[in-house]
Symmetry: C2
Subunit: 253 residues, 2 copies
């Protein structure tokens, strides 16, 4: 049974006990079963799932050995990098934004700007493999949401999260790559603050704050691929692509 | 009494019922009293306090009328901005990183890169006033931590938070400007992930994720200036300046 809470509090609940995820696994069922053990979903819950879990069940794991590095990949790898890794990064990139070999900041085809176009070696299945981002993280979130509704009857929000670095700040925070059933941005423009001023330029990236809050219980090293965030009113519609700064408003491209 | 929780869960608890804050107010006492009404602190709690609350009690509220705008401020204001506002932004800036009048992205003297060097009109005390960032947010966090310990005996972590925009992404998320009694970055370099790989480049900006989680219950419009985050092991020492990317590693300066 869910515990009684303090009025207005938010709870972030780790979802444990999932097996190692294989290509084609029914992630919706595995999450549903784990969440039944936690007492089930409540109305308004947001389920945050690590990108890597999604990518694994969607077959987005590739072998370093499967590519022949281009000249450009060799350049970007420099002395320290693996040119085959950089070749996969280039294949996943729409554009290289900055590079300092072997570090590459790239824009993915989805529009996200991040290190290595999201291509990651840690937590991959065995040495010599890489995990790529899902092809369409919003669609991944949608499918998971539908599967969970089918199995449990619950209508939840779903976020696909990943750890991104930031310009000017050290360390990563988790952000939303995909979402379903939630409004990723809370737009306060035109509303009044506590002393009656009109807030003219306030849009809060709620989906990114939800992803970051979930990271606090998931942890890269802990093998917890999902969390429930309970108590935030984020119900709505929208795509995580809304979180990408449009090019014509972007001062850093 | 605190409610019984799910193992490993994190709770984010809004701190309500504070009065409008005046210059010189004993914010530590006001927070202590509000938190007693919530059942008191628990070991390991992190108290996140909005920068604006700190700035108000530290007298960092200024009048637009108190400055004569320079030529540079007039240029940065363009057609739409208030040159007096931009003059305050310049006074708070160590360097202008980008501008598109009247928008300015600047580095503050603390090292933070953010819109308007953190100078903000919303929620200021009356029309014609601006709120500046605290002079030393780490010191503000330290003082608050000491005052709370004095009044309650509790040893807590404290974060001073503010809403920052991000390069490439829409919407703000709350981040840490100051901290006391916590390690702002969790360094996983050299540790192993769930399948035994060594994580070579993983530093998590836990203080920023804590600030973002707190924002989920604070809300700009709701007049809740603080939140407790319970259940995250972030105890340690450190300065929020550790969250600033060193210039020699910064690809975006």
């Amino acid at each position: 049974m869910p515990a009684e809470g303090i009025v207005g509090e938010v709870r972030v609940i780790p979802v444990r006990g999932l097996p190692e995820l294989a290509d084609g696994a029914d992630l919706g069922r595995l999450l549903h079963e784990a969440i039944v053990r936690l007492g089930g979903f409540e109305h308004g819950d947001v389920l945050v799932v690590a990108q890597k879990a999604i990518s694994k069940v969607e077959g987005r794991v590739v072998a370093l050995a499967d590519v022949k590095p281009s000249t450009r990949a060799r350049e970007l790898a420099g002395e320290e990098g693996d040119p085959r890794h950089l070749e996969w990064v280039l294949r996943e990139s729409a554009e290289v934004v900055r590079s300092r070999p072997p570090l590459v900041i790239a824009q993915t085809r989805h529009g996200f700007v991040c290190a290595s176009a999201g291509v990651d070696a840690s937590n991959a299945r065995g040495e010599g493999t890489l995990v790529l981002l899902p092809l369409d993280p919003d669609a991944s979130a949608d499918r998971l949401r539908a599967r969970i509704h089918e199995l449990s009857g619950a209508t939840v929000g779903v976020i696909v999260s990943d750890s991104f670095g930031r310009a000017w700040r050290q360390g990563t925070t988790d952000v939303a790559l995909g979402c379903a059933g939630i409004a990723p941005i809370r737009d306060l423009r035109g509303t009044s603050d506590a002393v009656g001023h009109t807030l003219v330029s306030t849009q809060i990236a709620v989906a990114d704050e939800l992803a970051g809050a979930a990271e606090l219980v998931m942890g890269k090293a802990a093998g917890i691929p999902a969390a429930i965030v309970r108590g935030v009113d984020a119900v709505g519609e929208g795509s995580a692509v809304e979180l990408v700064m449009p090019r014509d408003r972007d001062l850093f491209r």
